[in-house]
Every structure is written in structure tokens, then in C-alpha cells.
């Protein structure tokens, strides 16, 4: 690493063979390639190429095993027509939609906003402690998060939730069997509140205190202040948060797979789980890739919608 004269081995594959830069003519570009080249090449190989390769695979009948594994054929849009007419896949897209809407866009956003606002009150004591407690679900690895909820939602009469409902005289319920979707939505809300809180706390700090004060003097109620002053001012960060949380919620896999493995009867088979099952358990790489592409396009559309919405009438 100490020699800068050694010719970079991966020069050809780096983003662009750059002409001499402005500051140190002729000596800049080998250096840039040496420093940035390896990282850029690896990003291309392990992130960009899989995305493109996945797009290609989605038009083939590639399999991991069997005849088609030897000699994958180009099948046009067969995989897509299969998926878009398959009740299973459409149901799994619908479940992903529900999951994102209720857990991320509604649950996490509302609870995170409530937490951020409460913790921005000047008279609340022990802000660090409250904040740290809310942060806990986010710091633990997703497998541990699932494990804790597996015990909370345990069908046993001594499970945490059944004990709580038992206090009100309810019979023990097998939560993950009876209300699987609601269960995983609540688990995901639990996991994501902290991220929303952090994002909104940062945004609320930037709202000028004198604006709020002026509105209060003019007789606006707390809700009016929030609706007409705070919310418009933090619009940008809120949409940024919605974008980030939508992307990461669509990508949720382990949290749900650990708890339900897509069951019971496919009731929690989110698109991510559908892809995993198809491609890696049933070895139908082509169909799994097509499902990935559909998911990717939907996320991109959602992302564009958010970006548009956040710019309009700020």
C-alpha cells in the first residue's frame, strides 16, 4: 500500500478511466484507481451485477436442479405472466402492501412522531433513559427480536401476552396462528419506532422555537400548531423517512421468516419470503428472479412517488 507508482491492476474495470484531474495533472488518476478501484469493482461484482443478472435470469427458466439446470432457456415473459396470474404471488404482494402500510407508514411513523414530540417537551425528565429504552428494539439483531416476540406471542397460557390478556379473563390464544398478520405488523412496529423517533427528533430540532411561540401567543392550540406550523416545516424529513422505511420494510425477511416461515397457510408470505421460497427452496431461480424484479420496480415507483410528493408545495 505504500507505493503509489505501482500500476493499478484493475484499472480497466474501475468506473471510468479518468483523464488527468485538475489539481495534480497526470498523477491523479492512477492514484484514484488504486484507492477507489478495488471497492468500486467489488460493489459492481456483488451489488450491480446481481441486479442486472437477476433481470436476465427473470427471462429464463433457470433451475438449481433438474434438466433446466443444465441448459437454461430463454422463455420471454413467461415467468412474469405466470406470476401476475398466480393467486399466490398476488396475495403475497398484497400482504407486503398491508405490512408496509400498517407497520411502517402508519404504525412506526405515528408512534415515532409521538415519541419524538414527547421527548422534545422541555419539561420531560430523563430524556436519555426514555430514548435508550425505545432504542433497544432497534439495536438487537433481528433474530433476537424475533425470538423475544416468539415468547411474547407464545400459544402457551404462560406466554407474556397470554398472561396479560389472562388478567382480563381472556382465554389463551395462539396469536401467530389466529392473527398472524397483525402479529408481525406489531412486531415490525416495535422494531422500527426508534428509527422514526431519531429521524423526527432531528427534524423537530430544526423547527424555530419562536415560530411556535408566536403561534401560541396568537392562540393556536397544540394540535393546530402541529398541523399548520411543525408539520409543513418537517415535510422533507418526513418524506425522506417514509422513503427509507418503505424500502427497508419491503426488505424485511428474517424478522417474519423466523416467526412464521410464511405461514400459517401462506398468511404471512411476504414478497421477500415468496422469493426466497421459490428461488432457494423450490430451486426455481427464473421465477424467483422475476418476482424480485417486480418487487424492485414497485419499490422504485413508490420511491419516485415519495420524491415527487416531498417536493410539491413545500
Amino acid at each position: 500500500m505504500t507505493s503509489i507508482t505501482g500500476s493499478p491492476t484493475r484499472a480497466a474495470a474501475a468506473p471510468q478511466p479518468a483523464p488527468p484531474g485538475r489539481r495534480r495533472p497526470k498523477r491523479t488518476w492512477p492514484f484514484v484507481l488504486l484507492l477507489l478501484g478495488p471497492g468500486a469493482v467489488l460493489i459492481v461484482v456483488f451489488i450491480v451485477v446481481p441486479a442486472l443478472y437477476g433481470a436476465y435470469l427473470s427471462f429464463t427458466n433457470t433451475q438449481l436442479t433438474g434438466f433446466a439446470a443444465r441448459d437454461p432457456k430463454f422463455v420471454g415473459i413467461d415467468n412474469y405472466t405466470y406470476l401476475l396470474t398466480s393467486a399466490d404471488f398476488l396475495a403475497s404482494l398484497g400482504q407486503t402492501g398491508q405490512f408496509v402500510l400498517f407497520s411502517a407508514i402508519i404504525g412506526q411513523t405515528v408512534l415515532g412522531m409521538v415519541a419524538a414530540i414527547l421527548l422534545s417537551r422541555p419539561w420531560v425528565r430523563g430524556k436519555g433513559l426514555w430514548g435508550a429504552a425505545v432504542l433497544m428494539p432497534m439495536i438487537v439483531p433481528e433474530v433476537v427480536a424475533s425470538l423475544t416476540w416468539a415468547s411474547v406471542l407464545s400459544n402457551n397460557s404462560e406466554g407474556t401476552l397470554n398472561r396479560l390478556t389472562g388478567l382480563f379473563g381472556a382465554d389463551p390464544t395462539s396469536w401467530l396462528q389466529v392473527v398472524p398478520m397483525v402479529s408481525i405488523i406489531i412486531v415490525n412496529i416495535w422494531r422500527g419506532v426508534a428509527f422514526a423517533m431519531i429521524m423526527f427528533q432531528a427534524a423537530l430540532e430544526d423547527v424555530p422555537a419562536d415560530l411556535i411561540e408566536a403561534a401560541r401567543i396568537d392562540g393556536a392550540s397544540a394540535i393546530q400548531i402541529f398541523r399548520h406550523i411543525t408539520l409543513p416545516l418537517i415535510r422533507g424529513p418526513v418524506f425522506l423517512y417514509l422513503l427509507l422505511t418503505t424500502i427497508s420494510t419491503v426488505g424485511v425477511f428474517g424478522l417474519v421468516y423466523f416467526l412464521t416461515q410464511g405461514g400459517p397457510g401462506g398468511a404471512t408470505r411476504l414478497a421477500a419470503i415468496y422469493i426466497y421460497e421459490r428461488a432457494l427452496q423450490f430451486a426455481q431461480i427464473g421465477i424467483g428472479s422475476a418476482a424480485s424484479m417486480i418487487l424492485l420496480v414497485l419499490v422504485l415507483i413508490l420511491g419516485l412517488v415519495y420524491v415527487r410528493l416531498s417536493k410539491v408545495e413545500v
Binding site: 471510468q16 484507492l35 439483531p141 416476540w149 422469493i275
Partner: protein, 297 residues
């Protein structure tokens, strides 16, 4: 990370509060506060209660899937470290986490330095495209990635997994370190060049010591990302002796007939400990260094 710190008390913020406190609280104010604290308590309970079972069962000699008062013993932890198989999970996790983070940081510092210090065509496009990469949900590329790894003969090896994990976290690290390195005055480096250092020597002797906090944050984010990842090792590893803790826990849990709850809880505690300790340590040091900078500046 600064967002988690409660807002600094600025003079403007203090003044109205003090005036406010002198007045006796109106009934409306009191109701507001009671309501606010109730909400806070409920929210914290919601966040913490699920951990009760985990903590109680890990120190319970005869733990089950239920919340119960533990028969206090550390037998579960002893079994975790002496059992056949389970210590290996921790070792694998550590190998993957530490090597992955190290590789990620080396690539990140080098790339971040190039992005921060050189003006070259395509630099902005590169920064923008690695930001866009974050839009791709992991499950959407995992299938093709798996096939590529199969063709490279890197599936079912720790080396392959380490490589993939390090690269998956690289876009974030590059962004973070580009910003951190750009904030180090270039004059300091120029002084080092004048003193006869090469660019890389200056990078090592001047820049690296100055970007400690940014490097720490990047290391923490990367390590926690790799440590907690479930999908990638699940897809990439098939042999049991290579499993990290995440997969080991999952396999032990899905073994419906004979789940060893106490051992499971203890393993989960062991699994949580490194990121939790790292988080506290880095946060404390990040705070210290930024405060130190403020005082000296």
C-alpha cells in the same frame, strides 16, 4: 448518531421555560403532563417487555417458553460455552463480523479518500449511484448473488460470506468516510507532504488519526449490520460448522420438537452482547472526541 442525544439546551430555549416554571401549573398543563408521561411509560413498556422473557430465561435453570421467576443459575451460559457446536457459532460470528468490518473499513478509507480529495470525472455520478444502491431491497438481489457466488465457487465458505458482507455495507461506509475525510483540512496533509511524506504516508499519519469518530461510527454501523444479518448467511452457508449465531439460533428455534429454551435464551444474550457493548463504547467515545474538539477549537 447525534440525533439520539437530547437537544442541547440553548439560551433561547431556557428562557421561556424558566418563565413558564415560575407560574403555577394550570390544570390543563397538569393534565397534559400526566398524559405525556403515561404515553411515555406505555411506549417504554411496549419496547422493553418483550425482553423480559429473554433475560429471565437465560438465567433460569429450568427455562421454558414462558415468563416465570427464574431458578437462578448460570448453567445455560456454561452450557453455551461448553456444549459441542455452540461455541463454534460465536467464533464464526466473530470471524465474519471482525474480518468483514476490517475489509469494509480498508476499502472504505481508501475509496473515501479518493472521493474526498480528488476531482475526477464521474465522481458525482459514482456517489449518486452508490446512494441509489440503497434503494434495492436485499431479498431482490439475493437470488442472482447466490448464483454468482456458486459460479465463483464461494458459497459455503466463510471467505465468500465475509467478502459479500463487507461489500454490502460498503456504500454507506464510503459516504460516511468521504464526508469525514473531506472535513480534515487539506493543509495538514500538504504540510506532511512538504515534510517528505508520500500521499499514502500522509493518509496514514495525518488523516487516519483525525477521522477517529467517523471511522468509529462507520465501524459500528458495519459491524452491527454484518453481525445481525440473517438472510445472507442463510442463503450462502450450508454446512453446520460454518453457521454464525443468527443461523444457529434460527435452526435451534425451528427444531420444534426439542427446543432447549434456556440455552436458546443464553445464546441470544451472548449474541446481543457485542453490538450492545460496541454501541455504548463507540457512543461514549464519539461524544468525548467531539466535545474535546469543541473545547480545543
Amino acid at each position: 448518531m447525534t440525533a439520539t442525544i437530547p437537544p442541547a439546551v440553548t439560551p433561547q430555549a431556557v428562557a421561556p421555560a424558566r418563565k413558564f416554571r415560575r407560574r403555577p401549573l394550570t390544570p390543563v398543563n397538569i393534565v397534559q403532563r400526566v398524559l405525556a408521561y403515561t404515553l411515555l411509560v406505555l411506549m417504554v413498556l411496549f419496547c422493553l417487555v418483550p425482553f423480559a422473557w429473554l433475560v429471565l430465561s437465560s438465567v433460569d435453570g429450568n427455562a421454558g417458553p414462558n415468563v416465570q421467576l427464574p431458578a437462578l443459575s448460570f448453567e445455560n451460559f456454561i452450557r453455551f460455552f461448553t456444549n459441542e457446536g455452540t461455541p463454534m457459532l460465536l467464533v464464526n460470528s466473530l470471524i465474519i463480523g471482525v474480518c468483514g468490518t476490517a475489509l469494509n473499513l480498508v476499502l472504505g478509507v481508501a475509496g473515501g479518500y479518493a472521493l474526498a480529495r480528488f476531482e475526477f470525472p464521474g465522481r458525482r455520478a459514482f456517489m449518486f449511484s452508490i446512494l441509489l444502491i440503497r434503494v434495492i431491497p436485499a431479498p431482490a438481489t439475493i437470488v442472482a448473488l447466490y448464483l454468482i457466488m456458486v459460479n465463483l465457487k464461494l458459497t459455503n465458505t466463510l471467505f465468500g460470506l465475509i467478502l459479500v458482507e463487507a461489500v454490502l455495507q460498503l456504500p454507506v461506509t464510503l459516504w460516511l468516510l468521504k464526508g469525514t475525510i473531506a472535513s480534515v483540512p487539506v493543509e495538514l496533509e500538504e504540510a506532511a507532504w512538504v515534510d517528505g511524506n508520500s500521499r499514502l504516508q500522509a493518509l496514514r499519519r495525518i488523516v487516519l488519526p483525525l477521522i477517529g469518530p467517523g471511522l468509529g461510527a462507520a465501524a459500528m454501523l458495519t459491524f452491527m449490520g454484518i453481525w445481525g444479518d440473517f438472510l445472507t448467511p442463510l442463503v450462502m452457508l450450508q454446512s453446520q460448522e460454518l453457521y454464525p449465531l443468527s443461523i444457529g439460533l434460527f435452526r435451534a428455534f425451528s427444531d420444534h420438537n426439542h427446543v432447549d429454551w434456556g440455552l436458546l435464551a443464553a445464546s441470544a444474550i451472548v449474541y446481543v452482547a457485542p453490538p450492545a457493548v460496541l454501541y455504548m463504547f463507540v457512543r461514549k467515545n464519539l461524544l468525548k472526541s467531539s466535545l474535546g474538539g469543541a473545547v480545543k477549537g
